[in-house]
């Protein structure tokens, strides 16, 4: 039950992260305590990126090795990636409201996360509409690769688009450097998120394997 130990580890990690964010890190001068959303908000975004990178790598691995285990990792990681991206978007909205009084700002980073979210929800939906596992895996892998390649292009497009129509920026712009303690708090939160991602992935993979087992037995009973 390796996943059980990772589960406990991620729980401890989360507790230390909370300690780091609420106790260790100093209060930001201008924005006040609401700025503490920043740590989880940014970590969620980075974990979203990491999850989609795992989808990209396992998609390529599947196309080369034709082993459904890679397809399973890609699909589960995409799901968790969407979960983290959703959290990032939600916390972004809840942060923009108190700071600028608007629900949504077309801030470059937030917009990019929204595009990522859309891309990988389409990836998941594509899988829902194909029956045969090998075919589904191949098509999802191809789209997973195309979607991930879209990310850097999106990044550039949105950044230039932002310079044309500047709007409030979540992180207070490039200029405002972070205080050392804030950095440390962020690093701790990132580590806790990484543990959490691994735990969720392991758990989701177990569910997926059981699901395939059920399908196998159902097919067996059906053809009895």
């Amino acid at each position: 039950m390796a996943n059980r130990t990772i589960g406990v580890a991620s729980l401890l990690g989360m507790l230390t992260a909370l300690w780091a964010v609420f106790v260790y890190a100093p209060t930001e001068a201008t924005m006040g305590i609401v700025q503490r959303i920043f740590y989880f908000h940014v970590s969620a975004a980075l974990m979203g990126f990491f999850a989609f990178f795992v989808v990209f790598v396992s998609s390529i691995a599947f196309l080369l090795k034709r082993d459904l285990a890679w397809d399973r990792i890609a699909r589960c990681s995409a799901e968790i990636g969407v979960l983290f991206a959703s959290i990032n978007l939600a916390t972004g909205i809840l942060w923009a409201k108190p700071i600028w009084g608007i629900w949504w700002t077309w801030d470059a980073r937030l917009t990019l996360q929204l595009l990522l979210w859309i891309l990988f929800v389409s990836y998941i939906m594509l899988g829902a509409y194909i029956a045969e596992p090998m075919k589904r895996a191949a098509l999802q892998a191809v789209f997973g690769i195309l979607a991930f390649i879209d990310v850097p292009i999106n990044f550039m497009a949105i950044r230039w688009w932002r310079t044309q129509h500047p709007s409030p920026v979540i992180l207070g712009g490039e200029g405002s450097g972070l205080d050392i303690d804030m950095y440390i708090a962020l690093i701790i939160t990132m580590a806790a998120f990484m543990l959490l991602y691994t735990y969720l992935l392991g758990h989701r993979l177990a569910v997926e394997r059981t699901q395939e087992e059920v399908e196998y037995f159902e097919q067996l009973v059906h053809s009895q």
Binding site: I87, K97, L200, H203, T210, F217
Partner: protein, 48 residues
């Protein structure tokens, strides 16, 4: 202040709901497997 609470509760609710959903699904699937196994055992006894 309550924005802060809202943001962090969104996070924990999200993660907790997802984990809960997964473990509930895991339980259902395990139960389903047991059902199917007994079904197969029954029909094996039946045939042999």
């Amino acid at each position: 202040m309550n924005w802060l609470v809202a943001a962090y509760s969104v996070f924990f609710i999200g993660i907790f709901a997802y984990t809960l959903m997964m473990s509930r699904k895991q339980k259902d699937l395990d139960r389903r497997i047991e059902e199917l196994r007994s079904l197969i055992k029954e029909s094996d006894l039946h045939d042999s």
